[in-house]
Symmetry: C2
Subunit: 192 residues, 2 copies
DNA sequence: GTATTATTTGTACTGAGTACAAGAATTAAG
DNA sequence: CTTAATTCTTGTACTCAGTACAAATAATAC
């Protein structure tokens, strides 16, 4: 499996010093085969997370329409990971300190941040009946995803006896649920 | 100015189709000169924003210690941009739809997100007297920066008759001020 | 066994980013 | 004004992620 080879080499010699050629040689395939499975080198980090995030739209759709959006978001994210099993802990969450912040990881992380906020904007827009391209939707989506990211990283860091992810999500998003309970669109003034 | 040449070319032919060689040729210098001024190609987008963000630590330090952190954050960010003049509107904020989401922009954006959250984590830790590496600090910093980013993008989009950035910041961060008013560290349970 | 389809691989390429030394321009000192 | 020192630009060469495409190989179907 390319990911396993990649993770071994990243720990042995660091992300930057590990070339795609190294990874594919370790896996016993050609360099170009890598690009049959991944668009980018850093995509190896996201296989499990992408699988979980892929479930998000349907999990959001399944939440009770009377539930406040922040609660629905917690439930949806928790359901995404629950469906992938209790042993599900993405490698990058437990190893990101070893990996550091190479630009390729930053770009692939932000790419997923953006696609996740797009999903949440649509959900919030529909649930709160406000325009999807409003500042309010963007803020709720941005802050929710960044809180989820912080919770996920903390959860990954907590070690093998960690509490369920949902505990972390609830704790991280509770203030947002409270803060956004009365968050309404306003007409920002224009200068004369 | 390298930035001006870059922005002209990005609009003429797109980010991906504009090489560093193109930019430096347009500016009348050698390709390697580019790297005397910038670490990365996409760094051209951030000159003004980096200047503003560079002021953040001192602006945060200047806020009243009795001010709730979210209010202090609004004030500090607003002061950062106010000090750089009323005409200060970073090119990327008004042109990011034209630029799209090239991986290089995503990585440089996330790099600045991370460094800004580090600044805010330190501030929140000191102001609320909680450990800087706690989930609470991370969540407050992450959500604050992502709300500021959403506000800044909306502000950039609003056109030449836009309200002051502070209006957008206040609106975006008000729910966070409310939500974090009683946000305290808790001991997340460990599994047996 | 042959034909078709799917997958891997080889080759060649672009361009961001890096390193380093040489050349040119600027500044300082005598 | 000349020389020396310092600063900055530039040329050359490189690595490696990422791309394109065709050839080779493997797998599948008949």
């Amino acid at each position: 499996m390319l990911e396993e080879s990649a993770f071994e080499l990243f720990l042995e010699q660091g992300y930057a010093k590990t070339s795609i050629e190294d990874i594919t040689r370790r896996a016993g395939v050609s360099r170009n085969t890598f690009f049959n499975y991944f668009d980018l080198k850093s995509d190896v980090f996201w296989v499990e997370i992408d699988r979980a995030l892929g479930l998000l739209p349907e999990k959001l759709a399944l939440t009770e329409s009377s539930l406040p959006p922040a609660h629905a978001i917690v439930e949806a994210f928790a359901d995404c990971t629950a469906e992938l099993g209790s042993g599900f802990v993405p490698w990058i969450l437990t190893n990101f300190e070893a990996i550091g912040e190479p630009n390729e990881l930053l770009s692939s992380a932000f790419s997923r941040f953006n696609s996740t906020t797009r999903v949440l904007k649509g959900f919030v827009s529909q649930r709160l009946n406000i325009p999807v391209d409003s500042l309010e939707c963007q803020v709720i989506a941005n802050t929710s995803v960044s809180a989820v990211a912080a919770a996920a990283v903390a959860w990954g860091k907590a070690g093998v006896s960690r509490a369920p992810l949902q505990s972390y999500l609830v704790h991280a998003l509770a203030p947002l649920a409270e803060g956004y309970a009365h968050f309404r669109a306003i007409e920002l003034p224009r200068t004369i």
